[in-house]
Amino acid sequence: MKSKTLREFAGMAAALGNPATRSWKKQGRGVMGYFCSAIPEEIFTAAGLLPFRIRATGSIGTELSDAHFSNLNCSFVRHCFNVALLGEYDFLDGLVLVNSCDNLRRIYDHWTSQLSTSFVRIMSFPRKTGPPQVDWYQRELTELRSGMEEHFGLEISDARLWESIRLHNETRRLQRQLYQLRKTEDPPISGADTLAVIVAGTAMPKETYNGMLRELLDELREAEGITDYRARLMVLGSILDDPEYLRVIEDQGGLVVTDSTCFGSRIIWKDVREEGGDPIQALAQYYVADRHSCPRTFGEHERRAEFVREMIREFKVDGVIGERLSFCDQWGFAQYSIQNDFREDGVPYLSLEREYILSGVGQLRTRIQAFLETLEG
């Protein structure tokens, strides 16, 4: 990794604490943790808080959270709560969740009973994408806004919200530019490094991040591309915040050129409306209806599938790797439909189960190796 900027991003993705967050806190400013990409970071930024997406980077065990969750629960949730119980999230001034899944929604219950974070809210996120659902989420977000105003003693004005929306849209636009560079025959950045860049963006102030990302894009436009790969791959799945997982794939010669994950393209591919009416309505419209959903949302499989097909075409993908965290029911059943789609479309597909913490690397390498061989015919 030659680029200094890329090394900085990688460093932020590789640990929970980072210089940007520490410096932010030193200035006496607050940090709002959140789970799930369905939660609008824009509101936190508008409130002057740093949005920090919860993950369990660096976790090595679940010994504390196992007293609260069982071995039927997904390892992402168990590791995240373990990290929280170890005090690594004590720097948070608040936490916001939605009922993302059966595993994650219980973190709210345990967090409120076991930890002393003073502001913890769970919102009800709709499972459909129609106008009544947008209205519903608008009300939820309005309540979140007033709850934050009251708790933190601040005002989240419409003007600040529009400003924040523009800032976050700028982040998404820059991130999409990064993806655009990967469409070329010799992409200047790997999938692992791209993931590090996106993950870093969920853990540092957006102004700083956007500046660094512009620098990186300038560097990459001049950089030599990657040519020594065996196949162009797309990764499809849920929570994947560990660049090392993709590095194992890429070390075998499969270059990950795009993805549809919730630390990936799904959260950056579209923008929030930048003007007109209520900014909270604009956010609700984006998060419920406009952006690409995950299988938690009912009635959207066709749109999700079309997005994946579009990615395959635009990024000249040779094969798709589906990654599912064990015990995730949403992706468990989605796999059935996805495999049927790919079978009909003639797209080579490899389905992988994984734990949150990178493990079984040898087996993973073997599966990737075999998949690449089938792609090479």
């Binding site: 009922n99 769970i122 015990f327 059943f333």
Partner: protein, 430 residues
């Protein structure tokens, strides 16, 4: 057999099975026959009506017990549940092993709920009658939402219109209003696709009838508090089935409830419970496994343990205000979002788990709580410490088993019995 024939194969078989069971009960009446016969007749009638709908091209729907069955009753619209095929008269389907092998062929991971994988298998194998329309269920778990998305896009079902009421996570007033609107939308959908209409006057009648059922259900539940609980759990499970399935809001269902209460009253009065020796009063805090018919007789005979309540047999039994149309919709929304067993506990934050355990233990003098820990129930798995702490707080022993309620191979029934025996012994019960 292919096409429609294959779709109806199981339903035809079901009719034959229930006809045989009915004949057996009628030919060999005992003192419980009057309660069992109407239930078998209901299952027989449901299967027959499904056949009739398919053969005569009449509209019918696939839906779930928590999608306000009062509405289908009021619309005179026949329905079945996609996973009902896993059970025949509260015991597992004779095809269970064959079907379990079938689901292994699906590309759905084995850590997803077996019942829901069975639901998808039935669709994939073409052994469910394809309905005119589907009302999907998006609560209480992720699996059920994802199952319906998979069915909605399945090659054989993708042309079947599907509607899904969206359940909010919490139970405040605005959630109830929102869900009431979703139910109204559901009616619009059903009317459009089936041609059946909902008349409000008829809905009022049905809801009032279902209120009578709920009143009787509460009365029955109260009788189960008796030191000698009148019945084992089978009839309590049936009470739930009647109140929330095809007999919901029907005079036949109400008549059955009256009979149930009368039988229970008589048994309490005469000190003549169905389970003669009752030393341990047990709360089974989950749905019932398909192998329950093997476990409960053993519990009764070996340990004098009677299952007094379960997740499916206890709810607030709240009545619906029928004074206005708005009140009815809100009442239906509340009942189906917040009260219906299993949905009630699994949907929303964890307080209801704790509240219900404490309430049931206190009201029903429960000696111990068994949480089976069904492999598919991720939300309860994430609530285990809360349940354990609640039990510790009120001083009642708690056992976590770890089973698959639909696949006996996961934890063999003998192993379940061993665990329970060790638990009873360690806790000085029995």
């Amino acid at each position: 057999m292919g096409g429609k024939g294959r779709q109806l194969e199981r339903t035809v078989e079901e009719v034959q099975q229930f006809e045989a069971i009915l004949k057996l009960l009628q030919d060999n009446p005992d003192e419980m026959s009057h309660l069992h016969i109407p239930l078998v007749k209901d299952r027989l009638e449901t299967a027959r009506r499904t056949l009739e709908c398919v053969e005569q091209g009449k509209p019918f729907v696939a839906t779930w017990f928590t999608n306000a069955p009062e509405i289908c009753t009021a619309m005179d619209l026949h329905w079945y549940c996609q996973v009902a095929g896993a059970f025949v008269a509260a015991i597992e389907s004779p095809h269970m092993m064959e079907d379990l092998e079938g689901i292994d062929q699906l590309s759905v991971p084995a850590d997803c709920c077996t019942l829901l994988r069975l639901g998808l298998y039935y669709v994939d194998a073409g052994i469910l009658p394809i309905p005119t329309a589907v009302v999907a269920l998006l609560e209480p778990c992720d699996g059920v939402t994802s199952l319906h998305e998979a069915i909605r896009t399945h090659r054989d079902w993708r042309d079947v219109p599907m509607f899904a009421p969206d359940p909010p996570y919490l139970g405040d007033e605005k959630s109830i209003d929102y869900f009431a609107n979703e139910l109204r939308e559901m009616v619009v959908f059903l009317e459009e696709h089936t041609g059946h209409k909902l008349e409000i006057e008829r809905l009022v009648e049905v809801v009032e009838e279902s209120n009578r059922q709920y009143e009787l259900w509460l009365e029955y539940s109260d009788l189960r508090r008796s030191a000698f609980c009148p019945h084992d759990l089978t009839l309590a499970m049936s009470a739930f089935a009647v109140a929330q399935n095809n007999l919901c809001g029907t005079p036949e269902g109400t008549a059955w409830f009256r009979d149930l209460v009368a039988d229970a009253e008589r048994r309490v009065r005469e000190h003549r419970p169905e389970v003669a020796h009752q030393k341990i009063r047990l709360l089974w805090y989950d749905i019932h496994p398909v192998w329950f018919n093997e476990l409960t007789p053993w519990l009764q005979q070996e340990w004098g343990a009677n299952v007094i309540q379960s997740m499916l047999t206890y709810c607030p039994y709240t009545l619906i205000d029928t004074s206005s149309e708005d009140a009815i919709w809100k009442g239906l929304a509340k009942r189906n979002l917040l009260d219906t067993p299993m949905i009630r506990q699994a949907q929303g934050t964890v307080e209801k788990f704790v509240y219900d355990i404490e309430r049931i233990v206190k009201d029903f003098s429960i000696d111990c709580v068994i949480w089976p820990g069904h492999m598919g129930h991720k939300d309860s798995a994430a609530s285990v410490s809360v349940m354990r702490d609640a039990c510790r707080e009120i001083g009642v022993p708690f056992l976590h088993l770890g089973v698959d309620q639909f696949d006996r191979r996961y934890t063999p029934v003998d192993e379940v019995k061993n665990k329970i025996s060790q638990f009873f012994t360690a806790m000085n019960l029995g």
